[in-house]
Symmetry: D2
Subunit: 437 residues, 4 copies
Amino acid sequence: MNKKLKIVTIGGGSSYTPEIIEGFIQRYHELPIGEIWLVDVEAGREKLEIVGNLAKRMVEAAGIDCQVHLTLDRRAALKDADFVTTQLRVGQLDARIKDERIPLSHGLIGQETNGAGGLAKALRTIPVILDICRDMEELCPDAWLVNFTNPSGIVTEAVIKHSRIKCVGLCNLSQSMQRMVAEILGVDKSRFLLQLVGLNHFLYGTHVYMDGKDVMPEVLKNLKYDSAHKPKNIPDIPWLQEQIQHLGVIPCPYHQYYYTTSDVLENQLHDYKEHGTRGEVVKAVEHELFELYKNPDLHEKPKQLEQRGGAYYSEAACELISAIYNDKNLLMTVNVRNNGAIRSLPDNVAIETTCVIGRYGAIPLNNDALPSTVSGLVSVMKSWEEMAVEAAVTGSYGAALQALTLNPLVPSGKVAKQVLDELLEAHREYLPQFFRA
Amino acid sequence: MNKKLKIVTIGGGSSYTPEIIEGFIQRYHELPIGEIWLVDVEAGREKLEIVGNLAKRMVEAAGIDCQVHLTLDRRAALKDADFVTTQLRVGQLDARIKDERIPLSHGLIGQETNGAGGLAKALRTIPVILDICRDMEELCPDAWLVNFTNPSGIVTEAVIKHSRIKCVGLCNLSQSMQRMVAEILGVDKSRFLLQLVGLNHFLYGTHVYMDGKDVMPEVLKNLKYDSAHKPKNIPDIPWLQEQIQHLGVIPCPYHQYYYTTSDVLENQLHDYKEHGTRGEVVKAVEHELFELYKNPDLHEKPKQLEQRGGAYYSEAACELISAIYNDKNLLMTVNVRNNGAIRSLPDNVAIETTCVIGRYGAIPLNNDALPSTVSGLVSVMKSWEEMAVEAAVTGSYGAALQALTLNPLVPSGKVAKQVLDELLEAHREYLPQFFRA
Amino acid sequence: MNKKLKIVTIGGGSSYTPEIIEGFIQRYHELPIGEIWLVDVEAGREKLEIVGNLAKRMVEAAGIDCQVHLTLDRRAALKDADFVTTQLRVGQLDARIKDERIPLSHGLIGQETNGAGGLAKALRTIPVILDICRDMEELCPDAWLVNFTNPSGIVTEAVIKHSRIKCVGLCNLSQSMQRMVAEILGVDKSRFLLQLVGLNHFLYGTHVYMDGKDVMPEVLKNLKYDSAHKPKNIPDIPWLQEQIQHLGVIPCPYHQYYYTTSDVLENQLHDYKEHGTRGEVVKAVEHELFELYKNPDLHEKPKQLEQRGGAYYSEAACELISAIYNDKNLLMTVNVRNNGAIRSLPDNVAIETTCVIGRYGAIPLNNDALPSTVSGLVSVMKSWEEMAVEAAVTGSYGAALQALTLNPLVPSGKVAKQVLDELLEAHREYLPQFFRA
Amino acid sequence: MNKKLKIVTIGGGSSYTPEIIEGFIQRYHELPIGEIWLVDVEAGREKLEIVGNLAKRMVEAAGIDCQVHLTLDRRAALKDADFVTTQLRVGQLDARIKDERIPLSHGLIGQETNGAGGLAKALRTIPVILDICRDMEELCPDAWLVNFTNPSGIVTEAVIKHSRIKCVGLCNLSQSMQRMVAEILGVDKSRFLLQLVGLNHFLYGTHVYMDGKDVMPEVLKNLKYDSAHKPKNIPDIPWLQEQIQHLGVIPCPYHQYYYTTSDVLENQLHDYKEHGTRGEVVKAVEHELFELYKNPDLHEKPKQLEQRGGAYYSEAACELISAIYNDKNLLMTVNVRNNGAIRSLPDNVAIETTCVIGRYGAIPLNNDALPSTVSGLVSVMKSWEEMAVEAAVTGSYGAALQALTLNPLVPSGKVAKQVLDELLEAHREYLPQFFRA
């Protein structure tokens, strides 16, 4: 790899693009990128134009020797790529709003990566991602696919099961957890290793090694998630301390959906009534961001992007790409093929866990067997994800209904079926696998 | 074993006692019982008197050489027993009514063996059962404990984990499933083997062997639970056919709580409003039964008992005892130590599965790995049961809250905690492990 | 199954045939056999004639309504069969003699089912058995294949992996072990259950249940194999008591090859020098038997057959067939698909273990995890068997050499390679898979 | 850890000491060692004096700020140590000579870490190492034990099972394998990752990642061990190419003992006749080395030490210590607790595998399930090691005999027992656990 790198970002018209561009600029000294291709679809043409021009101005201002290309021709972009990142959203924010609104309208949690909304997003996204993989197998078979399209774990599993492309699924959650542990211990995050294992958005901390000792008991005793340590899209609801203390491991912020389901639902229903869905809020924020991006005098990532939520995502992507390229043996928590890392799950599913990253890719660190307090829950969560992948790939209505039945956020029965039917109908144009002639 | 057998029935004042007495009378030619001891506690003294005298009349009328003893002195009864059956109910029907009423009053499913009610029943029952085991270890260490006190699987697990007494947990559910399959196939149940595996009240049919072939596909296609094939206490609600067809295995009647949760809940809330809880209905039925039992001219099990629900329970107990005594190699579905029979669960938990029964006890038949459609759900159900056993034995509030958090019928969070607090308070007198000074 | 049964015995010209005929005659009241077809190949024509005519005289003398057919046309025999038994020997006794002689000539153990000789026998036999399966799939797809062709475990595994025919592999070893335990306990074998698990000719007793208790410690303490409890073909060599006592389980007679390898070898080399190989001894015995069989006044199995070794084999076959036909739930130790019964081995291999037998076939009883004293040895033995099956099916020289390398009775290296080369050459005519043009 | 480090080397009188001293000197810029304590026993007093003085001269000549202490008082040395390395040899080289000579005299392979010799060495060494651990638990409970006393895997397992001290077991074999792969690929070893898994001296290469691709097939095709890539103590014997090619993984040099047993034995018996045992050769080399060490003008590791065999051992130890101290995330192949890294083995045994090394210790990378060609062999090898640990800790004769019975290099039976008896007798003074009054 001594030529300059070609990087392709699919969903290049995303409001996050300035972040990833900034990440590449900051790492240019160790990551010699020659070309960045931003790809989008017709529906995203205008956004691609706006954010792509900002990207060009950023690169130019940085004075690095790198070309930014904007295109709707995905295959042209993929030809001979070294790394492909995906930040696409099938159906744009309007689809997300439906994913949130339909479950909420039936009194269920409405969230874009969890519950019924997560299923709908998976059903729309997986066929597109697998299409991209088909193109990559032909045009850049040795490139790495760095996925941060949600639901990241389910999407990664689809690639693992149905493509030969090397894929790593990213999430920024592990970084929030590291920051919280650092604060509890009162030390810099370089001083300890937080070992993590589970599924995407369903991740547990199992060990905290500091100076050769496992200080987990100390950390657990002082565990707290306040607004500083949780993603913006998760409501600020107190955990049940007795329940959490009994876990023996550190839950992740998203676990609130599962450990305080009734409270999150109450909060969401209230918010929904008052402010509409989170997707609608985001849509307004995005609109403002794009207004900013249009400014021809803007040559850097605007501060406001950080309030968008989802920060550190692009940071993680750039870090990962650099760790692979520079063979860094970096420890990072990503989504990969299980292969025995969680012994109670099948080999060929996606899990999220601390991996060592280098030119060889991402190899999970050895994990203890999951404690009995969480092992069963991880198994049933993986089951619903497996059903979601099956439904997305085959268009099986039974598999989709099974997925919702297994999902702990969706009460099974008539309600589940009705929500599923409405979601399928609402996204009909993106779900050809369910509506074949 | 050439002496005559001594059988002890704990909870002997139960309205079911005539059924088990009938079972012993019918098997007297192969099961030479010399003594039957009916034991109860002070609170059950009157019922014991009534039903015990009926038992005496039944035995006398049958003309068999067997003594029936009524006693409140458990240790005297247990001395040198061969088989001990348990059909006790800690706190009597009033406790059951609370188990149903408290969850329902918070909008949750209220049922005596599932969900929050099942937890409360386990917390009350396990200490009593383990006390009995302590006595047995001293007074009849080689006797078999035949448990049909609910929640049967959880209670059996407590005995497996915390006693050396040989224990088999019974349930009559497998017989309903056999009858349904027999009807679907249009043959007598002796013509096929329905292989079953799972947990108590959470049991799946995995194979139907007829004439050396597995006819499962044919059975699945015609699967139906109507009122003829489900226990009386389960509401008559349609299954979601697409979901069930996708399972690849036969669910049990109790699975309706898990596969159509919202519909069962709606039905329960409606019934609760109209008729009160199931426990209240049963209480009335019981009252009538005991009025009948008082009749000094009654010398046999009255027909009305069959409408009580729970039929075939005593039948199963007698069948099991005879299979052990006569070394029958009978195939029967019971609750036993897992020991690898379900590979995804720990060795030392209780499972329910088809076993071969003989003088050696109950040995599970080899099972396939559970299909991915149900494996995760079985794991999380076993997790909640494990937490329930831990809570019952240690009095850990955290374990009890964890149990409810994992239970798919209870939404986690404030509601779960509140229901738990109310249940603990309501049953305070039976839960010394939670209210130590 | 209300028609009369058709039974086919392949290798019908074997000297054992009178035993299986006697078994069928004795069970005629419960096993309504209408036709017995004895099949052999051209090389066995004369023997088939002799023993087949004896069979006819036996059936006639018994006065049962059953036809005995003799044929070289296997396909005609298989048409619509209910049970097919295999007792064939590819290459007849001359091949066996080579299997023993070639290893011995290099200073290795020479035995027909273990070590290098066992590999050669597997390589010759498996292609023939799979050919029979192909015919059965076409002509009698629902028939049971009851294999007692050695090496029985390896042959059964080949059928499991490469055919859809239902197959049970038999061995008479478990019966020797039962007799020994009965003698140690001083009770009839109906009084206890000896639970067995392992591989064919590599079987361990793990539990001895008597009157509901596991009396294994008592049995182990008094363990002894003397000439009464071991097959005739195993030398009478003392076990190392300290080593056996440390096992914690009961070894089988064939384990002497593995636990006292040097002593067995010494004994074999001595015998070989004095008397030639075991195969040569057997050949002489067989010659005498066939002389007896020719006697037209003989109408029953001659006593001398019992000295032949291998007694109880046909007994086991008849018992198995009757247990299946009559749905007996008989506990019997046979070779079947593992399917998790030994957890440390793959699902799709053959193991030998106590099964319950009925119309559904043979289902293994649940086993404990193997103790660490024997688990590794069972794993490496299964590995060599897996390599043997692979070599037999594909003709891979590497797999065959791997098999010998893994086999504990064959020192790896040049010697193994030389023995393999000589065996392949010696049996060239029966090994087309290794000598394709 | 901002104070200067205290390092203790037990068996400090070893001829290898100059190598480890050189390693510390070379890393002084990153590894601020303040004190090195060389500890030995009375029998090693003279050697300790000689090599210890050389060590002092080396440190002085290097001009680093570090004290070298020589002592026979182990407890004084261990007080507050940061790292403890062990390179002791219980019974010195004379014991090794017996370990080689006794098996050879019975026609068995005689080697210090494999077969019967390896067992004897384990039995002598483990009690001493566990004594050291007892001291460490009291005097420096947070120190790392870096073991390179052979048999390294078995010794490490004893520590894992019977002590709370953090222990990493070293071997230099993985470096030979890396050099061989580098030569086959024609690239520097920094260009690829050779992933290794197995047991100490029984290690397999499972993946060779170069530039993100697994190039294992290419490496396997060109596999060769010639004198450049194998330890000096392993004879130069050709591998069986067909057998090795069929493995699908890369064996380690020591695998020759297992894959060409008869050839190694022949070679050893020849060498033994001609030159005596390897131990005797080494003894002569050591004598010469100590003569050199006495030279007061020698201030550096003499070249001749590299011919001693066992080179790179100390290199590995220094590298490991620095990786821990500097939190390097170094990938290195060491012996650690299995914990699921090899799924077919128990959690609490020692395995050797590629780990990531940092302040948290050594965490294994995730491994594939072992291929069926080697999985069984690894299991039986681990079984013998488990028995060896049990025998060493408990003094059980049965466990020791079991260990030899399972070991593929020792034919079971009378010979094994005789060799065991002679070894126990010969080492009687070092085996108090076997000779308690």
